[in-house]
């Protein structure tokens, strides 16, 4: 980049009288305006969407709504058992996808050369997996987990199907995180005679935490938001689940049923949507906190 302004960094930082309107000055100003406009546009859309949900759903929120079972096809009562089912499905999904995802990301980032055939194959198959439609996952999950492995409509089948969906996001984001760890860490560890495993666990994993947390947040978001995949795998039953093999509907299926299938379910659909958003906020905060505390290190991202 041409250094045509040796002292001033941006028009906003310039001392008065020193501003010269050269082309790069204009470009800088233009970029600032465009970026702020984009941010405002995105914020406006989000506020529009959220305001709609909060406006219609806030009236439904109450302790009863959060704990009672649903009655009258969901038009009365609450979402208590559904929250439990959702939590269980998410737990199964994370319990399976976190170890697998972390392991694959570590392999791709640390133990495979960027242009090795195996690494490329795995990376490409992850990209393909990321593009498979959710309904195809639902049909696959039904045929494989529910019928072939004979789990039936169950929370376990739902969680496993979701794990398949969440893996690509988790792995890609974590891999980016590992790539960002400076090469000096690895070289220094090798110079000190540490095993690669040890270097991984003590040096690189903490450095990759921002990437991991992003992957986790995106993955949890995707898991909670999933509907089509779960209708065919974890099912439609809104009873409190007794075990992982029971069928249980997730919050997103409940919202779908109330808004698209049951007449007069709008109010509770909005209420459930609001509960889902609040749940997401809580889980995201918890994920960041746990990652931070577990690795005892401030996250680099703000």
């Amino acid at each position: 980049m041409p250094c045509d302004n040796p002292v001033i960094i941006s028009p906003l930082d310039a001392p008065p009288g020193a501003v010269r309107f050269t082309r790069s000055r204009l470009a800088d100003l233009g970029a600032t305006i465009v970026v702020w406009l984009m941010a405002m546009l995105v914020t406006a859309v989000f506020v529009w969407l959220l305001a709609d949900i909060v406006w219609h759903g806030a009236g439904q929120l109450s302790w009863q709504f959060l704990t009672e079972p649903s009655r009258n096809a969901g038009r009365a009562g609450g979402v208590g058992p559904i929250l439990v089912s959702t939590g269980l499905i998410l737990a199964v999904c994370l319990a399976v996808s976190l170890p697998l995802g972390l392991a694959t990301a570590v392999l791709l980032a640390e133990f495979t050369a960027v242009d090795s055939v195996f690494g490329r194959l795995v990376r490409r198959s992850l990209d393909v997996l990321a593009g498979v439609p959710s309904i195809v996952f639902g049909l696959f999950g039904n045929a494989f987990f529910c019928v072939y492995l004979r789990m039936g409509f169950s929370i376990l089948a739902g969680g496993l199907t979701l794990a398949c969906m969440v893996l690509p996001i988790l792995i890609r984001a974590t891999e980016e995180g590992f790539r960002s760890a400076p090469q000096e860490y690895r070289l220094g560890a090798a110079a000190l005679g540490m095993s690669r495993t040890s270097a991984l666990l003590h040096l690189l994993l903490p450095a990759a935490v921002p990437g991991l947390v992003v992957g986790l947040v995106l993955g949890i978001g995707r898991a909670l938001a999933e509907t089509a995949a779960l209708i065919f795998t974890s099912g439609y039953v809104d009873r409190m689940p007794g075990s992982l093999m029971d069928s249980g509907r997730s919050l997103s299926i409940h919202i779908y049923d109330l808004s698209m299938n049951v007449a007069g379910g709008n109010a509770h659909a909005y209420g459930s949507a609001l509960v889902l958003i609040l749940l997401l906020l809580v889980i995201n905060a918890a994920a960041s906190q746990m990652a931070e505390r577990w690795l005892q290190r401030k996250l680099i991202t703000v």
Partner: protein, 290 residues
């Protein structure tokens, strides 16, 4: 080769996990092929592109199975969404890192994380009761390609923004400080130093977003109109391959069901083609240094 035995064990364990992940894709492909077999046998591949339209249950004739209008619909919706969401996503990430004060950036990031977790049903519902009537008041009908593109843009934006945001966080601070010390303008630093350093992250983000756009089912089913015809304008209703499967799978039997699996297979082929294309572009421009 590392002298530690734990390392060798670790590598094999990791390879096992990665192979498991790769196996999932193979399994899904096999499943789709198996379920599509009856349609291939009874209907034949050519008819999926040359029949008059999509009417699998038409009496009289054997049923019509043309997938082309829906294929075009899916592609156009995806392209439109990615074209809109990529700049917005990049802009959002850059905003968080280089333009916004810390507290605004924090709040903005939280907001995008929230957007990432809103179910597609809620987006579809909102689109159906807010966006579609808005478009209808502008130009008839309402459910249209435009509604689909707008909704998809909102849905894939968080994925792109958050991934690129993480990539930008990984750009070494020395690069930025060094460039600032050299006197570059803010936009100059971003364009000349940060973007090249974060290339692979930006690429990953856009690729993930594209994948999500092709695979989105529920939301597009609610706002696109679902009429099987070639989209001939931004206000025309159209049906995507995913919405087709979601709409008809529950009520399909025999060859109809099989034909729906063929459309699923077509989607997978589309995604594989896209990924291969991205690989070719990526190899040339992105992964050169690392």
């Amino acid at each position: 080769m590392s002298p530690w035995r734990s390392d060798a064990l670790l590598v094999w364990l990791l390879r096992g996990c990665a192979a498991l992940v790769g196996a999932i894709v193979v399994l899904i492909l096999l499943f789709l092929v198996r379920e599509s077999m009856p349609a291939f046998r009874h209907v034949g591949i050519g008819r999926f592109f040359t029949d008059a339209s999509w009417h699998p249950l038409a009496d009289g004739s054997q049923g019509e199975f043309n997938l082309t209008p829906m294929l075009v619909g899916s592609l156009v919706a995806m392209l439109g969404a990615v074209l809109l969401a990529a700049p917005l996503g990049v802009g959002s990430a850059v905003f968080c890192h280089y333009y916004a004060p810390r507290w605004i950036a924090r709040a903005y990031r939280k907001m995008i994380e929230l957007l990432a977790g809103i179910p597609s049903v809620v987006y579809g519902f909102w689109g159906l009761v807010v966006l579609v009537p808005l478009i209808a008041s502008w130009h008839p009908h309402g459910p249209s390609l435009l509604a689909g593109i707008l909704l998809l843009t909102i849905m894939i934006l968080p994925t792109i923004a958050l991934t690129i945001d993480a990539a930008l966080a990984n750009v070494p601070r020395e690069y930025v400080s060094g460039a600032a010390a050299l006197g570059m303008s803010r936009w100059g630093i971003i364009r000349g130093v940060v973007f090249p350093a974060a290339k692979s992250g930006v690429f990953t983000g856009i690729l993930l977003g594209t994948g999500r756009a092709i695979g989105e089912t529920m939301a597009v089913m609610m706002v696109c109109g679902n009429v099987v015809r070639m989209p001939d304008g931004i206000f025309a209703p159209m049906r995507t391959l995913t919405a087709n499967i979601a709409l008809e799978m529950a009520y399909a039997m025999g060859d109809h069901r099989s034909a729906l699996f063929v459309s699923g297979l077509l989607l997978m082929v589309l995604v594989i083609a896209l990924v291969a294309m991205a690989e070719m572009i990526g190899k040339e421009h992105i992964h050169q240094e690392s």
